[in-house]
Subunit: 134 residues, 4 copies
């Protein structure tokens, strides 16, 4: 099972709605379960540098089936896997990437958000991911 | 002037509508005038390999302010710029990428489409680009 | 649906058996439906340069849901998509990559073979892919 | 002397057996003495992100003829070679990569394992490497 086009649109739209509410223009990425690009939207005035960051967050989540910031527990100073963030072309081990969970409870893709503070990015990612919860 | 989020959504939607009419699932990319990703949609069952091809077509168009296939006239056998297609990380010098023209007549971005035959891709790209024409 | 470990092993083993019968050491790659590495075997004395070639063939097949050589019809001299082979990090538009089809008829992965002549590579790829046919 | 196909299969199989015993699906990579891919297996449900990590661990071991985590002593904070982990396309200076030693005591390749905790990865790598000890 991987995410459908309709689901991806709903994720993007829910993220955009939250970003508008926060007043922060965001880049929002949806990947499928194989970490391939499914949908993307850059809101007007969102930072150019955040296009890549949003994609890395989503990719980090899809590849490790975890929130992007969970990777930091493995590679932060003193943690058991220093340099893990260098793998897979460069991970983004901080908040804003979340797995997307389908109705059967399996990961069907991932969302990545970047453009504001890490806290704002995560808030938008959560709102986006919640679009798949019935 | 560069493309707005609303314009990008309209371009994607017009392309998707045409692709549905043709019965061919497509990857549709919108870049801004600086060749940076603005919006993207992969329709269900569109080829994974076409994600990159669609992006290259749009990038080729945005970078050279021309339909992607126009590059071929410069790099085809006997033409004056052999290898031009190797520049910029690899161009896609065939149909399916088009500049997006704003109301003042200037290029505000580009669209790239891939998933069907070159003729189908170009047809969808034209329908997508036409969404900006009042 | 994507290929299982047991299926991947059966594909590799069937390819190896055919390569032994031909007397040509091969590199055999199995990717899943998302073009991610699932299994690999380099037979003794197989060419080092064929590791990458086998992976590109399998990747070409997985990304375009087609035998790798089918891409050549689109990018050969006079064909409508010159330079298509430059996409996706470089395709291998010649024989030796095949989609792997599961019991429901959908693509569940791809196999890529390199080490001999293109004809030998394709023969081994066919034997490998046939391991999934009940 | 470099690892043979039969030896590589034995290494993969011993690693898989240990991973099954631990109940953690793993990616297991075998490289030859020249750090070229010899064999690979991704067990069902192993993390996609660990394909690359397992390869980096094995590569780190093969390139420096040492357990992958030994590199950390050179590049950790205060150590004499900061940034060493950025060399060679990015090393993985943490546990799970081990040299494979042949009967004459020389390195004939390396194994890399990723998918669980660093401790689990190392345990599987040790079991895999032990397959070559008569």
């Amino acid at each position: 099972m991987t995410i459908t086009t309709d689901q991806a649109k709903a994720v993007i739209e829910a993220g955009e709605t939250k970003a508008v509410a926060l007043g922060v223009p965001m880049n929002i990425v949806v990947l499928d379960a194989g970490a391939h690009l499914k949908a993307f939207l850059r809101m007007d005035r969102a930072l150019l540098g955040s296009i890549d960051v949003a994609q890395r967050k989503a990719r980090t989540s899809a590849l490790f089936r975890a929130p992007s910031e969970a990777i930091w527990d493995y590679c932060k100073p003193g943690a058991p896997a220093p340099g893990l963030e260098l793998s897979n072309g460069g991970l983004a081990p901080f908040g804003g990437g979340l797995p997307l969970i389908g109705r059967e409870g399996a990961m069907i893709g991932a969302v990545g958000v970047s453009g504001g503070s890490v806290g704002q990015d995560l808030e938008v990612a959560r709102a986006a991911a919640a679009a798949l919860i019935p």
